[in-house]
Every structure is written in structure tokens, then in C-alpha cells.
């Protein structure tokens, strides 16, 4: 059982000397393993600041982040073991893999650094992980990132995140750089892994449709504040906050469009 808590977390960035910017304002939530929370909001709402604090790339100005009730160590072995528990999948699979190294290397590194399996089993484990994300291990293991498609690269990034056997994953817009026709495939893979490995996933996105599809809960962030947080269907189908309603009506929804647009001429946006 793993529980990660944000307790009244605020983050203030200093902007050009004297002035400051409140990026997160009193944010609290709890992420358990075996559940997916979607974090939605527009650009600049603070989504990435939450990811940075979760991975300890930034520290909160006030408030606390607790793992199983204990504060996260700021450095040393404690921090390393925390980062083994929580892994990140980045938005850009073209930028998050090192072009100089083979796929084998990318997945071996966390296995060795975190001593996940004995040395002589590394190769088997790398292959197992690649098969786990539904890649043909023989075909990709000796390749370099540029030889793979965007979707394959993102699968490698997912395999790498899984290598340390984390219990929590932070996925920051994991499919927004991928072609539409393969987005759903990668998201379905993430959902399967989440279920099978009992992971807790924080899915950061601005796409409400996939947020609803893949999450148990949705948390809506607006100007650094959580304005709405609840079961996914409730938040999307019966939004309480004005801002959530605004986000929803801005998202393309052909079903609603064709249901309500029957009386007016085609084309254009009301």
C-alpha cells in the first residue's frame, strides 16, 4: 500500500528580482496505488509545477508532501529510494531518450542503478520489460531512439519507468506529441499496466475526453488552485465549478454538436 499526500502545498516562484508568482495555492490531494487521477487545466494552471514537486525537482514554498505519512527526504539515499517509488513519463519521447544510446542501455540503467535484479539477469529483464510494453524485443533492443517511431519511443519510455518497479507513475501529457491514430493504443497500454501492476497514476493532460476515459478521479486546476475534484464521470458530466464548465464546453464534442446543431446551418462555431 503506497499513499502520496500533498498537504496544503503552495509554490511561489520569484520572477525577476522582487516580484513573485504564486504557481500553486494551497493544493491538497492524495494519490493511492491502484488508482488513476487525472490532473487537468490549461497552460499555466500549475500542472507541471505539481509534477516538478512530485519528482522533487522543486520544493514547495509551504506545505508538505508525504509518502506513506512521512516527509520525502531532500537528498541522499532516501531521495533516491523515493524516486524509485515514483517514476515519471515525459511528454516528448523525442527529447526524453538519449540519441547516443541503444534501447537496451536506456532500460538497463535503472535496473543497475536501483539493483532491481541480479547482474546476470539484466538482459532477461530488459527483454521482459520491452515485451511488457508490447514491443518486439529482438527488433528494438539494439536500436537507437531515432530508428523508432514516436509511439515506439514512448513505449520505451514507459518500459524505462517500469524498470525500477515503482508503485506510482506521473505521466505528463504522455500522448500529446503522438499521432492521433496511436494515442489511444498508448493510453490503453498505460491503463492495462496500471491495472496489472497495481500502480497509482497521476495523468496530467488538458484533454478532458481522455481524462474521463482513463481516470477514476479528475482534479481541475485553475490558476494554481484545485477548483474541482471528484469521480471522473461526475466532474465531466455534472461539473460544479464555472471553470470546469468552460473547459468542457471548449472541448470538441461531436455528439453534443450534432445533437444541438440540427436547426442551424452547418459549419462555423457558435
Amino acid at each position: 500500500m503506497t499513499t502520496l499526500e500533498f498537504v496544503n502545498v503552495s509554490k511561489r516562484y520569484r520572477v525577476r528580482g522582487a516580484s513573485t508568482m504564486l504557481a500553486l495555492d494551497d493544493v491538497s490531494f492524495t494519490l493511492h496505488d491502484r488508482e488513476t487521477i487525472a490532473l487537468v487545466g490549461q497552460s499555466g494552471s500549475g500542472k507541471s509545477t505539481i509534477a516538478k514537486i512530485l519528482t522533487q525537482l522543486e520544493t514547495p514554498t509551504s506545505g508538505e508532501v508525504l509518502l506513506n505519512g512521512k516527509p520525502i527526504p531532500r537528498h541522499g539515499r532516501g531521495l533516491r529510494s523515493y524516486r524509485q517509488t515514483l517514476r515519471m513519463i515525459f511528454q516528448d519521447p523525442f527529447g526524453s531518450l538519449n540519441p547516443c544510446h541503444t534501447i537496451r542501455y536506456h532500460i538497463e540503467r535503472p535496473l543497475r542503478l536501483d539493483n532491481v535484479v541480479p547482474q546476470n539477469e539484466t538482459e532477461t529483464e530488459v527483454r521482459r520489460l520491452l515485451e511488457r510494453v508490447r514491443l518486439d524485443a529482438d527488433a528494438v533492443i539494439d536500436r537507437r531512439p531515432h530508428e523508432l517511431s514516436g509511439g515506439q519511443r514512448q513505449r520505451v519510455a514507459i518500459a524505462r519507468a517500469l524498470a525500477s518497479r515503482p508503485s506510482l507513475l506521473v505521466a505528463d501529457e504522455p500522448v500529446s506529441m503522438l499521432d492521433v491514430s496511436i494515442r489511444l493504443g498508448v493510453l490503453n497500454l498505460l491503463a492495462d499496466l496500471q491495472r496489472e501492476e497495481g500502480l497509482g497514476v497521476l495523468y496530467i493532460t488538458h484533454d478532458l475526453a481522455t481524462a474521463r476515459h482513463f481516470s477514476d478521479q479528475i482534479m481541475v486546476l485553475h490558476q494554481g488552485r484545485v477548483v474541482e475534484h471528484g469521480p471522473a464521470d461526475d466532474v465531466i458530466l455534472h461539473p460544479q465549478h464555472e471553470y470546469t464548465r468552460e473547459l468542457r464546453s471548449a472541448s470538441p464534442d461531436p455528439e453534443k454538436h450534432f445533437a444541438t446543431a440540427s436547426t442551424r446551418p452547418q459549419g462555423g462555431v457558435a
Binding site: 490549461q42 475526453a209 476515459h213 470538441p252 464534442d253 455528439e255
Partner: protein, 274 residues
């Protein structure tokens, strides 16, 4: 209504490399005046190549292998786009057909003001205008797209992504073209800004009556804004139908697959299966 603006007949584009790649295959379509035509398909299906090819914007090794593009000018003259010489082409582009480029947010020149970049359009295409008239025209454009005339001396980096996108639209609108080609104009923007810009485009279209070819892979978005949608795959248009028809009765298997790659926002959980 039958009032075509652009007639494309049996249009093919080949990338003359080894082996040659047929990027656009025998496309035939007719764009109506004032219509929004959506062009959908996954990466590499040829939608951008087709849009560029219509205006002869492609460079070697791309070759227009066959077919014709005829522009039915508002003046009543039919223009055979493939037959224009260099000078005629220079005058034709932007004046009749303008373009909002993919990644438009980064398409502005970072070292000059947006005012100077808008001014360029008029200096080249409307040399008879005085400096003062050009300035007035630029200010009017910035007002039209809701950026505001006071931003005329701003540099691109001083504007948000959405504002830069609006500047690109202003630039495309400058000469009141009859057709605007938009290549993924809102892809990098968040939903609220995207909706805002779509409203703007739709408003401007009502005001000026231009046609739009809107390229994106975001099918739910296209369904909402387009009159008709063309679905491309492997360089071919495999289905072309009014938006509602495509939504209610998609004919081609691939169109159904494409629809099914989007989860539904409302209604039952699941994907957009018809």
C-alpha cells in the same frame, strides 16, 4: 449551392527520390465559395503535401506529376494555377490564397516587430499604398483578430502562443484572400485558447466570406467546424462527405477506425464508434 472556388482534378504529387514516393494520388475535389473543408488523416497521409501542392509551394524533390488546379476568381476569370509563371505566381499567392502555417507560433521572425512583418505583406503586394495607409491597415488587422493595435511594435516573444497565432491569421487575412489554408492552426494551443481562435476564424469568415481548407488530425474538432470533411490515407482521399453525414454514416472502414481512436467526452464511456 454550386459556386466552386477551386477545382482540383486528378492531382498527383510524387517525391522524386529513390524509390519515388507517391505522396498525393489522383485527388479530385471541388471547394465551394465560403465553404470550410476539413482535411483529416494521420501523420504522413499527404494532407500537408496536398495543401502545399495546391499553391505550388513544394520544392524539389516534390513534383506535380499530373492533374490540374483551377482557381475560379471572384472577378469571373478562371486561373490555371499550374500554368502561372514565376511573377504571376508571386502575385497570385497570398492575394488569392493565403496560408496559416503549421507551427505558426514559431513561424514569425523573432528579430523584427509584428508590425514590420505585417507591413511587409502590403509593401510587396500593394506598393501603391503610402506608409500611413499601410500603418492604418496593419492596425486594423490587429484589431480584427483581437490582438489590439497597441501591440504593433511588439516582438513575437512578447506575445503568448494564442496571440502569435492570431497575428499569423491577421497576416493571412491582410489581402482579403478568397481562400485560406490552415495547417494545424490550433494544435499546440490549449482548449480554451483553441476555442477562442476557432470562434474568431468563423466570425471573420462570415464577415469576409472566404473559404477555408482546415488541416488537422483532430477529427472531433473538424466535425464541429467543417461543412465537409475529406479523409486522407496513403495520399488518397478515401472519403469526402458533409460533416454530419461522415459522423452519422461513415462509409469507409478507415473513417470508422479514425473515429474510434477518440474517447467520448460525454454520453456513455467509450470511444466515438458509430
Amino acid at each position: 449551392m454550386h459556386d466552386p472556388l477551386l477545382t482540383v482534378h486528378d492531382f498527383s504529387i510524387v517525391y522524386d527520390v529513390d524509390p519515388p514516393v507517391q505522396a498525393v494520388k489522383n485527388v479530385t475535389l471541388e471547394l465551394q465559395r465560403g465553404e470550410i473543408l476539413g482535411l483529416a488523416g494521420e501523420s504522413g497521409c499527404g494532407k500537408t503535401t496536398l495543401a502545399y501542392g495546391l499553391q505550388r509551394l513544394l520544392r524539389a524533390p516534390a513534383v506535380i506529376a499530373s492533374g490540374s488546379v483551377t482557381f475560379h476568381d471572384a472577378s469571373g476569370v478562371d486561373i490555371d494555377v499550374n500554368a502561372l509563371d514565376v511573377e504571376e505566381m508571386r502575385r497570385f499567392r497570398w492575394d488569392k490564397i493565403s496560408m496559416v502555417f503549421q507551427g505558426a507560433m514559431n513561424a514569425l521572425n523573432p528579430v523584427t516587430t509584428i508590425g514590420a512583418q505585417l507591413d511587409d505583406v502590403f509593401r510587396v503586394h500593394r506598393p501603391e499604398l503610402s506608409r500611413r495607409e499601410r500603418r492604418a491597415a496593419c492596425e486594423e488587422l490587429l484589431e480584427l483578430v483581437a490582438v489590439g493595435r497597441e501591440r504593433i511594435r511588439s516582438f513575437p516573444h512578447e506575445l503568448s502562443g494564442g496571440m502569435r497565432q492570431r497575428v499569423m491569421i491577421a497576416m493571412a487575412l491582410a489581402l482579403r484572400p478568397q481562400l485560406m489554408v490552415m495547417d494545424e492552426p490550433t494544435t499546440a494551443l490549449d482548449v480554451l485558447v483553441q476555442r477562442d481562435i476557432l470562434r474568431q476564424i468563423s466570425m471573420l469568415r462570415h464577415e469576409f466570406g472566404f473559404s477555408v481548407i482546415f488541416i488537422t488530425h483532430d477529427l472531433p474538432l473538424l466535425l464541429e467546424i467543417s461543412d465537409r470533411i475529406a479523409v486522407m490515407r496513403g495520399g488518397e482521399i478515401i472519403e469526402l462527405a458533409p460533416a454530419r453525414e461522415l459522423w452519422e454514416h461513415p462509409q469507409h472502414e478507415y473513417t470508422k477506425t479514425l473515429l474510434a481512436s477518440f474517447p467520448r467526452l460525454t454520453g456513455e464511456r467509450g470511444v466515438l464508434v458509430r
